[in-house]
């Protein structure tokens, strides 16, 4: 049970401490040095154990993660809960981002020491997580000194209010929000992952999706979202009434103000793959390689894929490649050891191909056959849903029954989209 965090560190990539807070006296003060010498600058890079995000050094367990150019490190002496620690650190980054205008970096930390201290004190007490929700914390952290003498009278009332809201029935929403124009934006963002063998069998295919909302609504609105039943496993923002979802399959919630992630989902069944690929890569003797990659878009001809990028690996000793494509541009990238094919706008249902004849330098180092890494694809297809998820309705109720503008968008992005050759 004891999952107290004894100290929390923010370090840059060199391992210098940017800021830290020690919550309990049971750990040494020079932990950052240990972290630097044993984890960041460790030489035994081959040893997988040395790279894991949870390590033991001496009597302490180190749990760390990296976010942009910063390491966040939690140190504990107890048999801590790793899930909780990582989730906490993730939320901490989200929290700081929300204060730093969406940015989280070494520089933004350096510019905000005082604020971070305040946050570190509010979010953890004696190493136990307290409140990490930005919308609540923002109301009683006063950094930037926006409380003036004139506002002092209001301050007490506000503080009273803010702390009460932490635990109120809808802790995530203040009740006196007003907008002239009431709007709701709903984005379905899907990431499709696929791995296909060189024989064309799909080894793995899944979709990780999320619904992100931007809500600018007055008062205490009640929102209902109807979805077709395509989801295999779903997790929701805390505002969602989970009981109703389980019984009626309706996502019903009182939304927080502004932007938030309503739900995440995942599915493996019935996925429409945006692209099928047929690769043929033949090694002709020692010095030549024939590449032929056929691509077909499986989505409706009314839609377009944007910024399609196909990376076809070639051996390291490639000297020259003669490439033809039926659309877009392609060239040999010597740094990546790959043929890179770019298409800005790829129409649905279209078929295109890349053919290339690759010349290799004959090498004396013989005993290293080419590993044939997979072809990788990157793209995004607006208004396409690989999982088949559809919004059937989005309703907003509020007692003043104002007019609401609703916007629904979809986008499907590539995750790991690989084809073996």
């Amino acid at each position: 049970m004891a999952s107290a965090c004894s100290a929390l560190y923010f370090l840059n990539l060199k391992g210098d401490v940017l800021i830290n807070r020690t919550y309990r006296d049971d750990v040494e003060r020079n932990l950052a040095t240990a972290f630097r010498s044993h984890i960041i600058n460790t030489r035994d890079g081959d040893n997988v154990a040395s790279l894991t995000p949870v390590r033991i050094l001496g009597p302490c367990s180190f749990l760390y993660m990296r976010a942009s150019d910063v390491y966040i490190l939690a140190v504990t002496k107890s048999n801590a809960n790793a899930m909780l620690a990582f989730q906490f650190m993730t939320n901490m980054v989200t929290l700081l981002k929300s204060y730093f205008g969406g940015e989280f970096s070494e520089q933004s930390i350096k510019n905000n020491f005082v604020l971070i201290y305040e946050l570190l004190d509010e979010t953890l007490d004696f190493g136990y997580p307290q409140i990490v929700d930005p919308s609540i914390l923002k109301q009683y952290i006063f950094q930037k000194g926006f409380i003036t003498e004139a506002a002092k009278a209001k301050r007490e009332a506000e503080a009273q209010n803010a702390t009460l809201q932490v635990t109120g029935a809808v802790g995530w929403r203040k009740d006196n929000i007003k907008y002239k124009k009431n709007e709701v934006f709903l984005d379905i963002v899907e990431q499709v992952n696929m791995l296909m063998s060189n024989k064309g069998t799909v080894l793995r295919c899944d979709v990780n999706g999320k619904i992100v909302m931007k809500v600018f609504l007055s008062g205490m609105p009640d929102v209902k979202l109807g979805l077709n039943d395509k989801l295999e496993d779903v997790t929701f923002h805390q505002c969602v009434n989970l009981g109703r979802f389980n019984t009626e399959k309706v996502v019903s919630f009182v939304p927080p103000d502004g932007e938030f992630e309503l739900m995440k989902y995942r599915c493996q069944e019935g996925i429409s793959r945006p692209f099928s690929v047929l690769p043929i890569v033949n090694e002709l003797g020692r010095t030549r390689l024939e590449v032929n990659v056929k691509l077909k878009a499986n989505f409706s001809a009314k839609l377009y894929a944007l910024n399609l990028l196909v990376t076809v690996p070639v051996p390291e000793n490639t000297a020259h490649a003669d490439i033809h494509t039926s659309q877009g541009k392609a060239k040999y990238d010597a740094k990546k050891h790959a043929l890179v094919w770019k298409v800005k706008r790829y129409q649905g249902m279209a078929e295109h191909a890349l053919t290339a004849s690759v010349e290799l330098i004959a090498t004396t180092r013989e005993r290293k056959p080419w590993g044939r890494p997979p072809i990788a694809m990157a793209f995004q297809v607006p208004m396409f849903s690989a999982s088949g998820l559809r919004v059937q309705y989005l309703k907003v109720w509020e007692k003043s029954s104002y007019k609401v503008d609703k916007w629904v968008r979809k986008v499907c992005r590539s995750g790991d989209y690989n084809i073996r050759i």
């Binding site: 894991t52 949870v54 997979p374 073996r420």
Partner: protein, 817 residues
């Protein structure tokens, strides 16, 4: 940085002085510039410049503008950082904070109380209790929350202060009554940390918490779920009720909440096999979702849990094996865990697909991944033996042209042959295609040599291959040398004429080896051969039984212990927490009857070796005894023989005495042979008399608290005595919350079960285990400080152990310098 810092420091000091004296302390401009200076100070403080000399000025400056919360917060931050360094000013600080604890603004009250509790100064407690008590009764939840955590802070400084004031009672009450969920959650934390986990064993406490769970913050929900998993429901009906109420937690967006729910469900149903199976089905999807989170760190933690579950119930995930296929961009620690899971879930149905996938990784550019993939295929070949094509694939790896793949594959093929001798024939053809020069890694060489030694009769040029490798004998690692030695002898029994030269060379080199193991084994073989071919063959070349399992595999018992600590670091480190968490400084002994606390402090203290491996080592000792029994030679012979042995062995005369042992060593010369005989003489003599009856203890015994309690009640008293404590020991007993003394005892094989008490009486419970025996020795030691006396009661399974152990324990007490 010194000169610049000093310059800056001086500047700040001047500014502070001006701000403190000049102008209207309440004017906005002054407050704003004060804030700027404070910010500067805190920035310097953060980058490691010592600002403690400004303590007084900072205090004065802030107190003058006491209404400004921003300044106040910065002041608190400053003083809690530097209070320790300024003991003179501490009292001033405490006064200020105590005053602020009565401020009209709840935020200030809370902040002041928190800062007060965080001051790291001596004699703080006398100032703490009253503001905390007040805070507990505060009207505002923010203050109550802080006060509750304050109780825990005090508890860690001095548990008696909390116990005496019956504060825990207050907290228990607050937990049941308080309207603020975070206050309740903090109460739970404190009660748990203060060793009152049994507060959560009653239905009256647990059920309201479960019903209120949605009010709690996501972190507190984890806490509630964790607390409930320690609760024993009254019956199956109640288990179902709990699970129905909490089922929606599995869809929470916070991964920690989901995992805590998973743990709760698994533990609730542990005695209901059918339901347990359903729960496993239920949690499969949510866990897979957690794994696909954006953060690899979270995925890593989830996968570690997956692995544990997959090892317990492989069939459950055998359909979902594609989930564990690696992705191109994943970090290696994720891939490595996934491979282990794939091994765990592989069964007759999916093995072919899994191995096909693994074979892809063998061709990967990442060497580490390729190696692990070969090992994984090897493991699957061992586990799922009768699926076609797996062994063929493994053998195919021998010939990929990548030296490290070949090396890993040889090792796996060796293990396969040990486990399934019947598959040897298929393997030998492929193995014999390898030339020793292809192998660079010691493990691979040793494995190759092993195969040559065991199946040399079917490999045409085995003796010559071995001979080629033995040519480099001195340059090899000890493991390879040992393997060469054994292989040479084994093969000699099968193909004597071809191996005689090899054997001579290897034995000569081994007996001259500087490595103790190689040397001893060489000598042992030599003597066995000397004693007679048949006897030697019976010992060295006994037909190998197929291995049922490999010792490296984690025992089911150990896994169960890790499972008990589901959702903690224990799962990630794959070891019970007792092996990596330093023992709690003291188990709470106060206000409990003699032995109850032992049960309450559930963490087994000390230890580190699981019982399985302890048993194993005992077994090993036994085995080595059997080996030597023919001609026991416990000690290494004295100098002379080594010189004789070291002489280069001339080629043995062909024909005649095939063994030609006298020629093998000592070069046939009279003097050399005599020396060798003399050397062997004492070794063959009668065994030495056993040493005086002193007791050897197993290094780190492990005993569950409940087990300890049961044994304590059951065992007879073996010895009882009182013993004076030297001052050093008494100091060690008191210092560092008993830790020093416990460590001292642990170094002698006496593990601490629990320790505690308050001056002038301390109470300790120890346990020990004689090496190589199953008996247990339990000790209660009550130390009285005034007389520097320890009253010791020893209980043991075998009363004869009492006296020797008492002697040992006395020495342990006396030898602490």
């Amino acid at each position: 940085m010194a000169p610049k810092a000093r310059g800056e420091l001086g500047e700040i000091r001047t500014t502070l002085a001006t701000l403190a004296t000049n102008g209207n302390a309440k004017s906005e401009a002054v407050v704003a510039s004060k804030r700027d200076v404070f910010k500067k100070i805190i920035n310097y403080m953060t980058i490691g410049i010592d600002m403690s000399s400004l303590y007084m000025q900072v205090m004065t400056c802030a107190v003058a503008s006491a209404e400004d919360v921003v300044l106040k917060k910065m002041l608190y931050l400053f003083i809690s950082t530097y209070a320790q360094a300024n003991p003179d000013l501490t009292l001033l600080t405490i006064n200020l904070l105590t005053k602020d604890c009565r401020d009209q603004d709840p935020t200030i009250r809370g902040l002041a109380l928190r800062s007060l509790c965080q001051l790291r100064v001596a004699n703080l407690i006398e100032y703490l209790m009253s503001p905390i008590q007040q805070g507990l009764k505060d009207a505002h939840p923010y203050v109550r929350r802080t006060a509750v955590m304050g109780v825990l802070k005090v508890y860690h400084l001095d548990s008696n202060a909390v116990l005496n004031a019956a504060t825990l009672e207050t907290l228990r009450e607050m937990m049941a009554r308080d309207g603020d969920a975070q206050v309740v959650a903090n109460c739970m934390t404190v009660l748990q940390q203060a060793g009152r986990a049994q507060s959560f064993s009653s239905r009256g406490v647990v059920i309201p918490l479960v019903n209120r769970i949605k009010e709690f913050s996501e972190w507190a929900q984890c806490q509630v779920l964790e607390a409930v998993s320690g609760y024993q429901p009254s019956g199956e009906q109640e288990v179902y009720e709990l699970m129905n109420t909490l089922d929606d937690r599995l869809a929470h967006s916070n991964s920690a909440v989901v995992m805590a729910t998973v743990k709760l469900f698994l533990h609730l149903t542990i005695t209901m096999p059918a339901t347990h199976q359903q729960v496993l089905e239920r949690i499969k999807e949510p866990l897979q979702t957690l794994m696909s989170r954006d953060h690899y760190e979270t995925a890593y933690a989830v996968l570690a849990h997956f692995l544990l579950l997959a090892q317990r119930a492989p069939s459950l995930f055998s359909q979902a094996y594609t989930t564990f296929f690696c992705r191109q961009n994943e970090p290696s620690y994720i891939k490595s865990l996934k491979l282990e899971i794939l091994v765990a879930v592989a069964d007759a149905e999916n093995a072919h697909a899994v191995v096909t996938e693994l074979s892809e990784y063998v061709g990967d550019i990442d060497e580490q991944l390729a190696r692990e993939a070969v090992r994984a295929v090897g493991r699957i070949a061992l586990d799922v033996q009768d699926v076609e094509g797996i062994v063929e694939r493994l053998l195919g790896f021998l010939d990929t042209g990548k030296p490290f793949v070949t090396a890993e594959a040889v090792v796996q093929v060796r293990d396969l042959m040990r486990r399934f001798p019947e598959s040897a024939e298929a393997c030998i053809a492929s193995v014999s295609g390898i030339s020793p020069e292809d192998l660079e890694e010691p493990d691979a060489k040793a494995a190759f040599v092993w195969i040559l030694g065991h199946y040399g009769e079917s490999i045409q040029d085995a003796p010559y291959l071995l001979e080629r490798m033995a040519g480099e004998f001195a340059g090899e690692r000890a493991g390879v040398r040992l393997a060469l030695l054994t292989a040479a002898v084994r093969l000699f029994f099968k193909r004597p004429p071809e191996c005689q030269r090899l054997l001579g060379a290897v034995l000569a080199a081994a007996t001259a080896d500087s490595n103790q193991d190689v040397h001893d084994r060489g000598l042992l073989y030599y003597r066995l051969l000397h004693a007679g071919m048949a006897a030697a063959a019976a010992v060295i070349a006994a037909p190998a039984d197929a291995l049922a399992a490999f010792a490296e595999e984690q025992s089911a018992e150990l896994r169960n212990r890790v499972f008990d600590e589901f959702n903690s670091l224990a799962v990630i480190f794959r070891a019970p927490s007792a092996t990596f968490v330093p023992p709690a400084p003291h188990a709470p002994l106060a206000e409990e009857p003699a032995l109850a606390p032992v049960a309450a402090s559930s963490a087994p203290v000390g230890g580190g070796v699981d019982e399985g491996s302890a048993l194993l080592s005992a077994q090993e000792q036994e085995e080595s005894l059997i080996d030597v029994s023919a001609n026991s030679s416990p000690a290494r012979p004295s100098g002379a023989p080594t010189a004789g042995v070291a002489a280069p062995a001339p080629p043995a005369a062909a024909g005649g005495d095939l063994l030609g042992l006298s020629d093998l060593l000592g070069g046939g010369g009279g003097g050399g042979g005599a020396a060798a005989a003399a050397a062997i003489g004492p070794g063959l003599g009668p065994p030495q008399p056993p040493p005086s009856p002193s007791l050897a203890l197993a290094p780190a015994p492990v005993l569950a608290p409940a087990d300890f309690q049961a044994r304590w009640v059951a065992m007879p008293v073996a010895a009882r005595f009182t013993h004076g404590l030297p001052p050093a020991t008494l100091a060690a007993v008191e210092a560092n919350a008993h830790q020093d003394f416990c460590q001292h005892a642990a170094a002698r094989g006496i593990a601490t079960m629990a320790s505690g008490g308050a001056p002038p009486m301390y109470r300790f419970y120890f346990h020990a285990k004689p090496a190589g025996a199953a008996a247990r020795i339990l000790v209660e030691a009550i130390v009285s400080k005034p007389g520097a006396l320890a009253s010791v009661t020893i209980k043991a399974d075998d009363p004869a152990l009492g006296e020797p152990f008492a002697a040992l324990f006395r020495t342990c007490i006396d030898t602490l310098a």
